[in-house]
């Protein structure tokens, strides 16, 4: 069955079914996420609240809904759970697709979206904004700008050295990552330990707790565009993974493709980091899981990764806000869950993974 999905003609039907199943599962987890939490809201009310929220957004008062829930229930669903769930879905998809695209582009399944330094750059940008004691909007803009600037620096280095091989790009990413770390150390030294330093550390841990609906609204379209772009390129990513020389010989303008992929992935990752802080492991593990289910062909794997990533992040978010009285930072959970899960996957797979 698995072989069929990865290979032949008959696999065509099977993998579409899997994709459909993943889509259904995504919807189900979404509903679950909005319905459960420490503050109990009856399921019927949840449905009504979400429906009213959507109906309110429509221009005419087309669907009158009777307000039969308490304001606290409304707050729980609309102000707390809904933005977090949407953010988790968007970020999970964004990071998975970006990671999968990079894994094709760098011909290496061990690559994560941060290989060109976008997360470390975003952290520096956010830290600088926090140092200036800017408000949260500036911190998020700073994170976004920092991430983009870091990648721009990384892509500049091959131009300066006049060597455009993929290895130089990876090394440039290491350089920029190291530079970001050093800058972060300096920032941490000068930051006021009681206030600014604590803020910086807190932000770095990654959390969906402070995501508001307007942030989702701002970042959502960017993520959707980025994911759509990479999905459109999914066949080209296959060709790209053959290597620069072969891809060129097959007619692909490798330089332009790279720019497009880096641009899309950077936008996706920078958007995610700017609203939620650094989140590790997702971009690395989810593409592997998708590959295990439908094979390495990006035409099948990439769409599945979009859903799988969303499901994973939503589950993580549910755990983050229901396990304990404190909001558990996201990175902690993705690490604790992601790493053994990854090990378990490697264990199960006896043949070569990819």
């Amino acid at each position: 069955m698995r072989r069929d999905m990865k290979g032949s003609q008959s696999g065509e039907y099977a993998w579409r079914l899997v994709l459909l199943g993943a889509a259904v599962l995504t919807c189900a987890v979404f509903v679950l996420s909005v319905s459960i939490g420490i503050y109990r809201v009856p399921f019927g009310n949840v449905v009504k609240i979400v429906f009213a929220e959507v109906a309110d957004a429509l221009p005419f008062g087309m669907f009158p809904v009777e307000r039969s829930w308490s304001s606290a229930e409304g707050i729980a669903v609309v102000a707390i759970r809904l933005p977090r769930t949407l953010a988790a879905l968007l970020i999970g998809s964004a990071l998975s697709v970006a990671g999968a695209a990079y894994q094709s582009m760098f011909k290496n399944p061990m690559v994560s979206p941060d290989i060109l330094g976008v997360s470390s750059g975003a952290t520096v940008g956010a830290a600088l904004a926090i140092l200036v004691s800017a408000n949260i909007v500036w911190v998020e803009l700073g994170a976004f700008a920092g991430g983009v600037a870091a990648v721009m620096l990384t892509t500049l280095i091959p131009k300066l050295i006049r060597n455009h091989s993929i290895v130089i790009l990876v090394l440039a990413g290491i350089i920029v990552g190291g530079l970001s770390s050093s800058v972060m150390s300096v920032i941490r030294m000068v930051a006021d330990p009681a206030t600014t330093l604590a803020d910086i550390t807190y932000w770095t841990m990654g959390s969906l707790a402070r995501v508001k609906m307007r942030e989702v609204g701002a970042v959502g379209p960017v993520i959707v565009l980025g994911v759509a772009a990479l999905l459109l390129f999914r066949y080209r990513l296959n060709v790209l993974s053959l290597g620069d020389a072969e891809a060129k010989s097959l007619g692909v303008n490798v330089g332009r493709m790279r720019v497009a992929v880096i641009l899309a992935s950077t936008l996706l990752t920078a958007s995610s980091v700017s609203i939620a802080g650094t989140i590790g492991w997702v971009g690395l593990v989810i593409p592997h899981i998708s590959r295990m289910i439908v094979g390495p062909d990006n035409k099948r794997m990439l769409p599945l990764a979009t859903f799988t990533g969303g499901i994973f992040m939503m589950v993580i978010d549910i755990l983050a806000r229901t396990l304990a009285a404190t909001d558990i930072p996201i990175s902690v959970l993705t690490g604790i869950i992601g790493t053994p899960f990854f090990f378990f996957i490697l264990l199960k797979q006896r043949r070569s993974l990819w």
Binding site: K6, L232, F233, K248, L250, G251, D297, S352, W354
Partner: protein
């Protein structure tokens, strides 16, 4: 030459501030013609092939595909002309052979597109022509070296090119498969492709006939008809051991002492 599918004029190459690898190389090839690039290891054969394929930029000279300067053509257009078969292919991902071969259709698929049924048909046809249709659904990593070679050639054929470039096609094949590969190349030439290949085995150009470009010891490249250029003296000076050519069953073969 009229109807020269591939024309190379005065090609020269050196690495950034490095010594000249070759210079002044020129030849013309028609449909069905074969050019073998012969030389010792590291002489620069692959570099010359890469220059022809457009994967490396020559420092001097030009490559003309069907009369047009390849430097002015887009990667996509060049890919409809030239099918490039690399020496080794280390796969990062275990695509099934079918997917691997259909990637040859990329020049005909738009930037946002995916292969369609027609493209898969061409790919399967190419595999069938090479006699390896049975490996179609296997992952690329699970087939033998010879089958991988054939799959890559099938991919190049799927590009529906006019020219085939093969870099050391017999490099990782055993003795028997080497012969089969060379025979295949001859039959491909007979089908109408213009073929350029690199090799360090002198028997191959002797078998294939056609033209040869030899990277001699003194960095010069001698271009000409294989029969004429590959003399005993040239071969001896090229390899540093006494080489004689003898006729066996009407074929000229090399005999090194």
């Amino acid at each position: 030459m009229v109807n020269a599918v591939l024309k190379v004029a005065d090609l020269g190459f050196n690495y950034f501030k490095g010594p000249t690898i070759f210079s002044g190389v020129g030849f013309e090839l028609r449909a069905g013609g074969v050019l073998t690039i012969l030389g010792a290891n590291g002489a620069g054969k692959s570099t010359l092939l890469n220059c022809i394929a457009g994967l490396a930029r020559p420092k001097a000279g030009a490559v003309y595909l069907g009369g047009r300067d390849s430097a002015e053509m887009s990667f996509r257009e060049v890919a409809t002309f030239i099918g490039y078969v690399p020496q080794t292919h280390n796969p990062a991902y275990a695509y099934p052979v079918r997917e691997y071969v259909v990637m040859g259709r990329t020049p005909y698929i738009g930037a946002f597109g995916s292969p369609r049924a027609g493209d898969y048909a061409v790919a399967e046809d190419a595999l069938a022509r090479l006699g390896v249709a049975h490996i179609m659904d296997k992952p690329y990593t699970e087939i033998s070296g010879g089958e991988r070679q054939l799959a890559t050639i099938a991919r190049a054929i799927a590009q529906e090119p006019k020219i085939l470039l093969l870099d050391e096609p017999t490099a990782h094949l055993d003795y028997g498969n080497q012969m089969r590969a060379i025979r295949l190349i001859r039959s491909l030439a007979e089908e109408g492709y213009a073929v350029v290949l690199t090799t360090h085995v002198p028997d191959h150009p002797l078998f294939l006939g056609g033209e040869v470009a030899v990277f001699t010891r003194d960095k010069a490249v001698v271009v000409g008809a294989a029969e004429a250029v590959l003399t005993d003296e040239l071969l001896t000076s090229l390899y540093g051991v006494p080489v004689k050519t003898v006729h066996v069953d009407g074929r000229r073969v090399c005999y090194a002492q």
